[in-house]
Symmetry: none
Subunit: 415 residues, 2 copies
């Protein structure tokens, strides 16, 4: 099945927004055993007509994103109707949905949104619970050389759920036997570099026939993707488990916070956090996982020295002597957090996110981690994540949560 993706959006071509739709759709189709043959980005406006005409003879399915909004450069709906000579008619259900959304959000509705309720004759309306503009499926016609057209909304928060609820199953049905998902398995590994992993594993896995290996490194994690027959994948998985027992964060694509919340729930335990340089991002990340309210006890964002002392009981002299970014202070933060919150586990971090505040001894990017637990010795360590502020925060969050993961899985943390 020949599939193309067309992204409309002037902001994509101006580089204001990175095109994450293209990679999202590519990834998801791959999981179904399908591939995107070509991806094209064009500005908002009427160029979509010319691009579609070119793509028709090359495609069985075209996924179009964007151009369904209420402003006058959103023209996808109208141009597709025009191209296929379909009349547009207003759809009462969509009109009602738009009215409900405006009412729920306490906003005054205005008539320019009514355009979003226009549907080309014969098109299937794809409901959009996350926005006003529904998607549309205009079925293809093999004799006329017209592929199936999915018209999908531009905002990722609307597109992604709509892909899963409205697009995926239809693609699977059309592709038939072609859409047999290749057997694949993901290992998410923390604390081993991509090239180290490759150097070690490739000689070990190289002899497994028909095995395809893929790597994707990000913020200290590496996703190691195995594709092949069930036997090949299982054989490779065994070798990876044998070599990286401790470093395997999960044998899935689950984010670390989901892993942590599941481990804590299973153990019936709770965690609290005391954050300086991450400013609350550890707490926020843990609570991104559904079910976290049962295991997340309390979060403290103790940016100032006074709050480290006042709230967590870190002795002022300790800060005075060692500095707020130091091993003794982060240990005291973790112990104080455990005591004050009454949780079973406590994570504390203190570091220098930059761009200012660094010194020769403790340059920007330096961070101390402390992990305390009711039945565990306090662990602490010093790490270095140079780079920009936001990368520093994200890496520190992963570092902290992965240490808690190791402890919860019974691996002793060595100070």
């Amino acid at each position: 099945m020949r599939i193309e993706v067309i992204n409309t959006g002037t902001e994509l071509l101006l580089g204001k927004v990175v095109n994450t739709h293209a990679s999202f759709l590519g990834q998801e189709l791959f999981k179904l055993g399908l591939r995107v043959q070509r991806q094209t980005t064009i500005p908002d406006g009427d160029e979509i007509g010319a691009v579609l005409k070119e793509a028709f003879p090359r495609s069985d399915v075209i996924l179009i994103t964007g151009g369904l909004g209420p402003t006058n450069d959103d023209l996808t709906r109208e141009i597709v109707a025009d191209l296929l000579e379909l009349e547009l008619h207003p759809d009462q259900e969509i009109l009602d949905h738009i009215e409900t959304i405006f009412r729920q959000r306490g906003l005054k509705q205005n008539r320019s949104n009514d355009r979003q309720a226009m549907v080309p004759d014969g098109a299937v309306v794809l409901p959009n619970p996350n926005g006003t503009a529904p998607g549309l499926l205009v079925s293809g016609n093999v004799e006329r050389g017209i592929p199936h057209l999915f018209l999908l909304p531009g905002p990722p928060r609307e597109l992604i759920p709509m892909y899963f609820s409205q697009v995926k199953e239809r693609l699977v049905a059309w592709a038939g036997s072609e859409a047999m998902a290749p057997l694949w398995k993901n290992f998410r590994i923390y604390g081993v570099g991509e090239s180290t992993l490759a150097t070690k594993l490739e000689p070990l896995l190289g002899e497994i026939e028909g095995l395809e290996l893929g790597y994707c490194a990000r913020l200290g994690e590496v996703d190691l993707r195995l594709i092949g027959s069930p036997e090949a994948v299982e054989k490779a998985a065994e070798i990876i488990r044998r070599n990286y027992r401790r470093q395997i964060m999960t044998e899935s694509e689950d984010p670390i916070e989901k892993v942590i919340v599941e481990l804590l729930s299973k153990a019936g335990e709770t965690v609290s956090t005391a954050e300086s340089c991450t400013g609350g991002l550890i707490a926020s990340t843990v609570t991104d996982a559904s079910g976290s309210s049962a295991v997340f006890q309390q979060g403290y964002v103790t940016y100032s020295n006074e709050s480290k002392s006042g709230i967590l009981g870190v002795p002022a002299e300790l800060i005075e002597e060692n500095g707020a970014v130091s091993d003794p202070v982060v240990r005291a933060m973790a112990e104080g957090c455990l005591r004050v919150s009454g949780a079973d586990h406590a994570i504390a971090v203190s570091g220098i996110a930059g761009p200012t505040g660094g010194s020769k001894e403790k340059p920007v990017g330096t961070v101390y981690l402390g992990v305390a637990g009711k039945n565990h010795p306090v662990f602490s360590g010093r790490y270095f994540f140079p780079g920009d502020r936001s990368g520093f925060k994200l890496r520190t969050v992963r570092l902290a949560l992965d240490h808690l993961r190791q402890r919860l899985q019974g691996f002793p943390l060595d100070s």
Copy 2:
């Protein structure tokens, strides 16, 4: 000058890698007053030939990335030469450069790299200090309908420096007077829907000659982009300021946290946060801004009822009577946060992020916001952001921070 970008790379279409080249080039060209008219991604291999032939009549310049490497699916060089009927010859300087790089890296050279030293007759070699494959410029021929072709390496750390050292100046020279940076201005507006904005502004701005309007909506914010002559942009800006004095978050592309930190710094004031449903994301967002350590006093993530009472002093009966997600509780959280932290301002939120925990009266997506300040009445309000958990959190963060922005700018918040 009509410019297209063609990215080759199977990993881009599989979604393993996000296409940051497209946004990089879009941004840089825009700074020169130039635009990418179309961007296309195709797999590694020989499809580049067909895509180029299609693009020739539409373009004056084509920027091609990838396909210059040593493996046998890197075919851009050969296909371009074939298409334009140019002979390839080996270039001794490139051969020497490749040898040096291998020696420097302590690697054994293998002959597959020699292909990277082949140059089509008449092409300009664009040196690549960061990799083995040089870029190539194949000059166009107006009479034969052939645009200028830049063949650029795929890895970002090779492409980006090469753009600045080899591509940019040539584009400026070719574009001549066209390459004057256009005057443009961004308004970031909060709390007005894209469609409402368009309905109101388009009749008012429609008569300004040569003004181009662009919208990009995201999480309650809308970026309104004005492009045109200095007079047109200033005329439009005046109209926007007159109509949306209060709703203009910033006349720039700065994120809300930067705006907040600047306003607090200027006033010499501080803020603390008490978060339930956002789990620390408000604190984390504020502290994303450089300079926040001087103005961010303290953050509390009070997920449980006990911590709302124990830390913020919210009376247990108040929670009992009204529920943790309620107007009286969020007011008490804000007041408690102000008192306990000693900050000048306090933000509190309590809501139902979902997917569970909703009721008929308070469905998933319901959130209460409280804003307290030393010299201000307590403000509180109820809002509704249905959708997924992470969207709910992001919208609530923006809601909270924008209310603080309004208060800091002297707009009274009305309960």
